[in-house]
């Protein structure tokens, strides 16, 4: 066993120019043996989902285990629709076999006969890595379950678990309305367990080393390690594996990012802005909650002093509005309206004053009225931006935009697609 307790890296062990082969993987970690008490062990470990919602993995899996169905699916959500996140890509490039270990173990634990690895169809490198890994395993011997790789269109919303399952079920990446929680997603009549790539990787390690090992890093409420994607004011966007509870400033330093930033965007593009003083806060959900933020998908976007928070927010909001599935009125109409008002505010022209009031009104109206949490995320982004950049907002509204307004340099978004180019199926 080459993984020592209290040490990093864990899931990123063996990172090199090429993904680990099956043989190398087993040299590092030893073979994976199914254990009957996997769900109990996961429960004791306190592992929570690494896709953003941080739901206890063991609870979710137990719900599926208790379903009576002939056919069950385990889905590996490797969509990574979040533009500022690169951790799933990194995992696939370092060790796809660890992810497979976790998926196969969970399949065994809940009684699933099928594993579906879902990668955005544009991410051909990731697809190749997974295909090679699955092929290696199949060549070695029967897996016992059917493992398939599926490639939905790479929309932001396609990574949302109900949208992903909807695509698997009916070929459309549209989120589903789930009024009752907890609710089980299904493909046809087969219930589905959806977990993020990184979650599966951690399961692959807990399977071998147990809950106590997992808890030897991190805090009591947020145990273990997690992958963080740092972008923005950093030489190169980088993915690090860190122990939960590490002060944010240390993470920024390790990433080579600006350690006295103006502000940070935590969680993802549907996350929360926090002031630069948050660098002293440990990176763990229970300690970020007082700031109104959360770990989310492990995204940290660093905005330096020489940046315009309003412009960055506008850039993100405009792209997020375009990524709406347009199923629900408040999101389909409200988000573009919010983005438009943010644009007026960013420019700081005649409309800026009304724009600020409109943003406040509209974000309150839009919140919570969609079928999924997409509009809520944008509202959270915008409201936190108005709070953290309150002075800037007032100045912009008064027609005096800051010196850095006009060009978004730190929050990068993919090219805005025209409506007829959007692919949902």
């Amino acid at each position: 066993m080459s993984i020592a307790t209290h040490a990093l890296p864990r899931v990123l062990t063996g990172a090199g120019p090429r993904p680990l082969t099956l043989q190398q993987h087993e040299e590092f970690f030893g073979p994976a043996h199914m254990r009957r008490d996997l769900l109990d062990e996961l429960g004791r470990s306190g592992l929570t989902g690494r896709g953003g919602a941080a739901f206890p993995t063991a609870v979710k899996a137990a719900l599926l285990r208790d379903q009576h169905a002939r056919k069950k699916f385990v889905v590996v959500n490797a969509m990574e629709g979040e533009p500022a996140a690169h951790k799933d890509y990194t995992l696939a490039s370092v060790n796809p076999h660890l992810v497979l270990d976790g998926a196969l173990a969970l399949a065994g634990a809940i009684g699933a006969s099928h594993v579906a690895i879902c990668v955005a169809r544009e991410k051909t490198v990731m697809i190749n890595h997974f295909e090679r890994a699955v092929h290696e395993r199949e060549r070695r011997g029967s897996l016992g379950v059917t493992v398939e790789i599926h490639t939905p269109p790479g929309r932001y919303i396609a990574g949302e678990e109900s949208a992903l399952v909807h695509w698997l079920d009916d070929n459309e990446t549209l989120p589903q309305f789930r009024p009752e929680r907890p609710s089980i997603l299904s493909i046809g009549r087969a219930p589905v367990l959806v977990d993020n790539t990184e979650t599966h990787a951690h399961v692959g390690l807990i399977l071998r080393y147990g809950a106590d090992w997992f808890r030897s890093l991190g805090t009591n409420a947020s145990p273990g390690s997690t992958l963080v994607s740092v972008s923005g004011a950093v030489a190169r966007p980088v993915v690090l594996e860190i122990a939960l509870g590490t002060p944010i400033g240390e993470i920024l330093a390790a990433a080579g990012a600006d350690t006295s930033p103006r502000a940070l965007l935590l969680g993802g593009y549907g996350g929360t802005f926090v002031d630069g003083s948050a660098v002293s806060t440990p990176y763990a959900n229970e300690l970020l909650r007082p700031l109104g933020a959360s770990v989310g998908a492990g995204v940290i976007v660093v905005l330096p002093q020489q940046s315009c928070g309003i412009t960055e927010t506008f850039n993100i909001a405009r792209w997020m509005a375009n990524e709406s599935a347009r199923q629900c009125g408040p999101c389909a109409f409200g988000l573009p309206a919010l983005a438009e008002s943010l644009g007026h505010l960013a420019v700081g022209g005649r409309d800026a004053k009304d724009a600020l009031a409109l943003i406040r009104e509209r974000s309150a109206v839009i919140n919570g009225r969609g079928a999924c949490r997409h509009p809520d995320g944008v509202v959270r982004l915008v409201q936190s931006a108005l709070s953290v950049f309150a002075d800037d907002a007032e100045r912009h509204a008064a027609g005096r935009p800051c010196a850095y307004a006009g060009q978004s340099r730190f929050a990068s978004v993919p090219r805005l697609e025209l409506e007829h180019e959007l692919v949902w199926e």
């Binding site: 589903q176 309305f177 199923q327 629900c328 009125g329 408040p330 009225r369 079928a371």
Partner: protein, 78 residues
């Protein structure tokens, strides 16, 4: 069957809803429309059986062209 002392609220399926606005006309004390014509539904519980707000809500449920509304019992959390 809705009994007298249950807490009931009106709920909408935002995907089915297409902004016809009949609910706001039939139950104006419960539903208002946002600037794009979509319903904002009050979370205050509907009155007891035979109260006007429950009756309005029932009319709204029946009148919705997309059948996007329903009345739900709320779990009491103490």
């Amino acid at each position: 069957m809705k009994r007298r002392n249950e807490t009931l609220i009106l709920r909408v399926d935002p995907i089915l809803c297409d902004g016809f606005g009949h609910c706001a006309e039939l139950a104006p004390e419960i539903v208002t429309l946002d600037e794009w014509g979509y319903p904002i539904i009050s979370t205050a519980p509907l009155g007891a059986a035979r109260s006007t707000s429950l009756r309005s809500a029932q009319l709204a449920v029946r009148g919705c062209p997309r059948q996007a509304l329903w009345i739900e019992k709320v779990e009491q959390r103490n």
